[in-house]
Structures are given as structure tokens and as C-alpha cells.
């Protein structure tokens, strides 16, 4: 064996590469995320976007560090001679480096966890005025929405295939399915829950921006899964009441409807 040939490491160029990559990462995190993600129309979606930004900013220096080592190593430590390179100077362990690495990753993880739990708590405690229940039923391959409030106001059932809810009021969804498992998702509202047969799952959201939004099924439910999409319309209180009164009386509850 030839004698050890030890490569040098100089901190300055490495730090430059790291800093540049970190800066790019942070810039993409802050500028790119809101541009890439669905626009927010609720607190939950706002928190989701914010969390992605915060996590990306926190991850940027870590990822950039690894990439910087790769780039630096490929540029400086690559063996350019012929044949098998000589052995390098052995480095069996470095307790300080290992401890620091584990310590930093533990701190980062703790931060992510605390942030996550706080965001989760704020999502769970969402509340707004005039809570109204909407019963959401998935069936192969359509969504239907029932408004129990119509029974109180109009004394008849109202059932619709698009979701209409008033802005800045709390909507509570009771979600279920009559056949297989579906996934109820309103992307712009940042909420999602499975529609399970035989069980009711719940969601609460306060939409804070009027407009038309998509509703998509996100649990593979068979043949026309990708066609199981509809619209959510977030409107003012007044428009909502007008819409509700325009709806024809629905003859029966959806749960008795025939399976496709």
C-alpha cells in the first residue's frame, strides 16, 4: 500500500457554497411555496402554507449542508490518478461531531414537533359564528350535501350536489359514505377527512374568502374515482339564504338512495 495521502479541507469555500445553497433554499421556500400551493380560503389552509414555509426554511440549511459537502467533495477530493487510489487518512469516529449532529437534529425535531402541535391545536379550535351542520355523503361516484338547517327554516329537506356555505360562518361537516371509503377534500379550505361507510367523521371550517372552490375525492373508490369531483361555493349570508330557499324540497334522505 502506498502511504496515506490526506486531503485538505478548507472552511471558506465550503461555507460559501453552503451559504449560497441555503440562501437559494430559503428564497424558494418563502417565495415559491405560496405560488405553488393552492390559494388559501381558511385558517387551516393558511396554517398549512405557513407550516410548509417554516419547515422548508428550517430544512434549507440542513439539505444545503449535505449538498455542499457533495459538491465540495466532488470538486476537491476526487482521485484523479490512474488505478486504485491510495488509502486516505483514517477517521474512525469523532465524538464531538456525532454529538453535535444528533443534538442539532434533536433540537430541530423538537421545534418541528412543537410547531406542529401548536398548529394542530389552532386548527382543532377553529370556531366562528352561526355554526351550521352540513351532512356530506359520498357514494360511487358523486357527492351530496344535505342541509338540516332547512328543516328548521323551511320545514323540508334540502339536498344538493354542490356545496354552498356562507363566508365567515362556521360550517360543521358530518361525513359518511353509503358504499366504499371516499375522501372528502376541499383543497382551498385545507380540510380533508375520509367518508367511511357506517361511520360519521367530522370536520369544522370557517371559510374566509367567497368564491368557487373544487371538491375532490382523495380515496381510491373504484372505476370513476377521478370523476368524483364537484364544487364548493362560498357566499355571503344573504346569498346563502336565497340559495337555500330556491332549492326544491328533497323527497328523501340520501341514505336511502340506490347504489349505482
Amino acid at each position: 500500500m502506498t502511504k496515506n495521502n490526506s486531503n485538505k479541507f478548507s472552511l471558506k469555500p465550503f461555507l460559501v457554497i453552503w451559504a449560497v445553497l441555503t440562501a437559494i433554499g430559503i428564497w424558494i421556500s418563502i417565495k415559491g411555496t405560496p405560488w405553488l400551493m393552492e390559494k388559501s380560503a381558511s385558517h387551516q389552509m393558511h396554517m398549512a402554507i405557513l407550516t410548509v414555509i417554516v419547515f422548508s426554511v428550517a430544512a434549507a440549511p440542513v439539505a444545503a449542508g449535505i449538498y455542499a459537502v457533495q459538491i465540495y467533495a466532488l470538486a476537491k477530493w476526487r482521485y484523479k490518478g490512474e488505478g486504485v487510489p491510495p488509502d486516505a487518512e483514517p477517521l474512525r469516529n469523532n465524538v464531538k461531531a456525532v454529538s453535535a449532529w444528533i443534538g442539532v437534529s434533536a433540537l430541530l425535531t423538537t421545534f418541528l414537533l412543537i410547531w406542529g402541535l401548536a398548529a394542530l391545536a389552532s386548527d382543532d379550535n377553529v370556531s366562528g359564528p352561526n355554526p351550521m351542520t352540513v351532512n356530506v355523503t359520498g357514494q360511487q361516484w358523486m357527492w351530496s350535501f344535505q342541509y338540516p338547517i332547512a328543516e328548521t327554516l323551511l320545514h323540508h329537506n334540502v339536498e344538493s350536489n354542490i356545496l354552498v356555505i356562507p363566508v365567515n360562518n362556521q360550517a360543521n361537516f358530518n361525513v359518511t359514505s353509503v358504499d366504499v371509503t371516499h375522501g372528502f377534500w376541499v383543497p382551498s379550505l385545507g380540510v380533508k377527512v375520509d367518508a367511511n361507510p357506517g361511520t360519521v367523521t367530522t370536520l369544522s371550517v370557517v371559510p374566509n374568502k367567497p368564491g368557487w372552490y373544487d371538491i375532490r375525492c382523495v380515496e381510491l373508490c373504484g372505476l370513476n374515482h377521478s370523476a368524483m369531483i364537484t364544487k364548493a361555493h362560498v357566499v355571503s349570508d344573504k346569498e346563502f339564504l336565497t340559495w337555500l330557499k330556491e332549492q326544491p324540497a328533497s323527497p328523501a334522505a340520501i341514505t336511502t338512495s340506490v347504489k349505482n
Binding site: N4, A48, V52, A73, W77, V84, P90, L120, D194
Partner: protein, 623 residues
Amino acid sequence: MTATIDLQKSHSPATNGGGFLRRLNFGTGIIFGIIGALLGYFLPHHFFDNQGSAFADQCTVISAVGWVIGFWFGIGALAGPFKWFLGWDQTHADEMYLAGKDQGKKRYWKYCTDHKVVGVQYLVLAMVLLGAGGILAMLIRTDLISPGSHFVNQQVYNSFLSLHGMLMIISLIIAVAGPWGNFVMPIQCGARDMAFPRLNALSLWTVVAAAVPLLTTLFIGGIQDGWTTYAPISIQTGIGMNTFAIAIITFVISTTVAGVNTVCTIMTMRTTGMSLDRLPIFTWASLIGGALGLYAMPFFATAMTMTILDRSAGTSFFSADSGGTGWLWENMFWLMGHPEVYVILIPAVGALLEIATVFSRKPLFSYKTAIGGMAGIAGLSILVWAHHMFTTGWAPQLGGPFMLTTELISIPTGIIFLVAVGTIWRGNLWMKTPMIWLMGFIANFIIGGVTGIYLSDIPVDNTMHGTMFVVAHFHYVFVGSVLFGAIGAVYFWFPKISGRFLDEKMGRISFWLAFIGVQVTFLAMFVSGLRGMPRRYASYQAIFEHTNVISTIGAYTIMAGMLVSLANIILSWRSGEPSGPNPWHSKTLEWLVPTPVPLENFEVLPVIESDPYTYGEKEGARA
């Protein structure tokens, strides 16, 4: 008296159960398998007049089981128990014959107990299954090239994506642990073979037995419920679900047998001086991966059995109408599903860390931390399953705890990065193809890892779950990381099995096509997901068109890269540059035996006095 007789028997040159039992091979396996399948299908028709509503399901199940048993019989897997039952002992000549002594290339088509033959068989089988899954991936991406494409109809699309998922999971489980866990690991331990050579052959041929009903699924109507086969749609979908389920149960038998064999080999067959703190890191990875598979995979077989019973025997484990719940399936599935990710990942990490030391000409950095990292990942991975269920509505109170366990995994995963970086640090980087794939692995695994952290966070998962973002995330892990690791391992160990190098130039072309392809495909797929495209959509809204077209182009690029490596393997196996026994000047035992490796590996078992990472240190007296 008895002892004398036995002694005479085992010394006699005559063999027991020669003739027919010795002629069994892959061809007879297929023939008996088909006979078993036909019997399984037609006998019930013959004997039962009262054919209930589940009769088609029952017949398909019995037929698929008939195939598996027939194949086992035809390949010779049952010959050992059969002889034992008749009171015939295996003679030494029998065992040598089973190990493929003096049978040339024919042994690769037989129930061969030589671990090196099994390793090569696994390599070819993994490539065949990866190829099948890859073709399905290309068909899926082709269908997604425009919003309302009708390249295939929706039913076929759903079947394709279900089979693509399952084929890829199976082929990645065996992609590293199969070839190298069998070929390399016993030699690394200083063993003459695996602890249970016949079980080793059984594990290999059982994967073949599983692959056939799995692929059959496509031709009997397919399945509509994805590889995750959530209930109750798995009860509703067509008869393809039965062959799918039997394929899974059969595959789990294989992984369980292989897991027991791996763990027993490493725990009991190590040579003198090969203490656990001198064990090569790939062998450690095989041990941890194998043990984790033993925990995880049986959940899958149990859950699939329940699905079969629900479909064909009137039980209601998963049917809400009569007291069951789909959440039960989801829990059992993910109890398997998450550890299984690490059953796939950990052997690949082990292989890459071997590559890192050899091609940096340095000892593995912080050996014990590396083992701790892999063990930590394995331990935590059994406690995180419900993060796949954040949005199912099941047990919202458990969201916080599962978020905690999931995010904790980033600590041992970070350790793997530290070990890789520490090993490369100031090394003399020998940029041969295995090292290039390692660099690609590290770069891709960063992206796969970081995006996993978003998904572990419930408020983010509430928007991301079930979208293309998740698909892109786990493809960065499975394709960008595990597959790169598996290919790197092939480039690394190929000279040992064939005595020839893989072509460097083709290796580099293959790498760059695959690396660029992965970035193009899956970065665009992240964007599709962030913009709100759900996964498993056969058609999509026009807003997702650009990113899908980009992903499709990227996917073709990956396929091109894979084909270059495939051509490389085929060409180099015939006419590659001869490599000699230790082309990389490595110090692990598999490189210190001759190439081709003789039957039983060592003339004299080596005595070990240090770990195999003494680069740049005083040479220990190694065998």
C-alpha cells in the same frame, strides 16, 4: 444397532430419491402449478351443485392455492419433507446435488441450495419484476400525458396502478436483500452457506410462486382498489382480488422464511473472531432489515386472509353493514406498510455504506453510530403506522403521539447521512459507477426525507394526504434512493458474481438519464400535488396538464436510463472486461475468496481479527 445402519447408509454412494425427484426444475414447476390451478378451479365445479354468490371467489382462491402448492411440488420444494416422511435420509451426495455441484448453468433453473445460485436467481427475478412494474409505470404515465386521455380505460388504469404498486414493492423488497443478502452476506459472515439452505431456495421459488398469481390478476379483470386494497372496496372489486390476495400471502411466506434464515445465519454461522462489532455494515443491515420484515410482513398475510374470508366465506371483518370496519384493514395494512418501507430501505443503506468506505479508501465513519441509526429507524418504524391514517377520521386523539414518533425518525435517518458524509470526508474519492450511484442516492434521499417531514405534520397532511405530493415523496425514496442503491450495489458486486466489470461508460449514461429523469418526473409531480391533484386519478382537470406532461417526459427518461443499465448487465455478463477476484481492493471477506466463488466458499474458514474497514491503518492479520 440403528446407529450402525444409519452410518452405513450415509456412507453409501447410492442416493435416496434420485431419478424423478432429481429431474424437477422450473419447467416441471410450471407444469405442476398449472395442473394444481386447474384442479383447484374445476374440482369444486364438479363436486358442488349449490353454487352460492361467492362461488367464483371461492374457486379463484382454491385455484390460486392449487397453483402455489403445485408449483412447490413441481420445483422440488416438497421433496425434502417428502423424503423425511418416508424415512429416507439425505445422503451427502444428495446434498451436494441439491447445492448444484457440477451441474453448470442448469442449476439456475432448479431448486438449488447454494446461496450464490439463489443470489443470482434473486437478481434476475428482481430485474424481471422491476421490468414488469416499470412497463406498467410507463403505461400509467402515458395515460396521464393529457387531462382526458383514453389511452387505457379507467378500469384498466386502476388495475395498472394497483399492480404497478405491488410489483414495485415486491421487487424492491427483494432488490437488495435478495441478490446480495444471499450471495454476499454469508461470505461476509465467513459462513459456508446460509443456516437453512433449503429454506433459502424455498424463499426464492416462493417469490416466483407469488409473482404468477399476482400477474394473473391483470388478466382476470384486474383490481380497482390500488395496492393498498382498502376495505370495503376490496370486498366489492372483481375476482382478481383473490389471486392478488393469495399472491401476497405467498410472498409473505417467502419473506418470513428468508427473514428467519437471514437472522439465524448472522446470529449462528459467523466464523471465528467475527464478533458483532466486526461484522460488515451490509450484514448488519441485512440482520436489521430481516428482523424487521419478520415483524412487519405477517400483518399483511393476516389481513389478506381476512379479506379472502370476507369475500368468500361470509365473514365481516371489514364490512360496516354487519359490524366490521375498514379502519381495521387500514391499521393492519399500515402496521405492515410502514416498517416495510424500512425493510426495503435499510439493506440498500447497508450496501451504500460498504460502497462509501471502499471508494473513499477510508474506514466507515462511526461504525457503532451507523448500527444505532439503522436499529433506531427499525425500532421507531413499528410505532408510526397511523401517520398514514391522519385524515381517515380514526382516533384523532392519537394524532399528536404519531406525529411525535414519525418526526423522531428524522434523528436516526440523519445519522445515516452523517455516517455517509463522515466516510466520504477527506477521502480519496474513486468515482467509479457504484460511487456515482451513491452520490445520487444521497442527493435524492435528502429530498425524499425532507418532504416526509411535511407529511408527518398533521396540519400540512390535511392538505397533502392522498395527493400527488405523497406519490412524489415516496418515489424519491423508492426510486431516487432505494433503486439507486440497488443499482449501485449491482455495479459494485457484479464483478464478484460474473468475474467481469459492468461497463463504466454505459453505467454513467444510465446514471445521468435516471438522475435527471427522477428530478424532472418527481419535482413536477410535487407541483401537481401542491396544486391539488389527488393521486390515482385516471383523468384530471386541465390546470394540472403542464406538470403531468413534464412528469411523463421525465418518466420516459428514467426508463431509458434503466434500459441502458439492463443492456449493460446483459452485455457485460457475456463479454465484460475481466475483473479478477478483488477489483475494488476491498477488505470484506466476499472479495477475498476466488471468483467464481467455489461451492461452500472457503477452503479453510478464516479467522477474523478486526473489522474490514482498516483502510489507511496497519493491516490486521486477515485471512
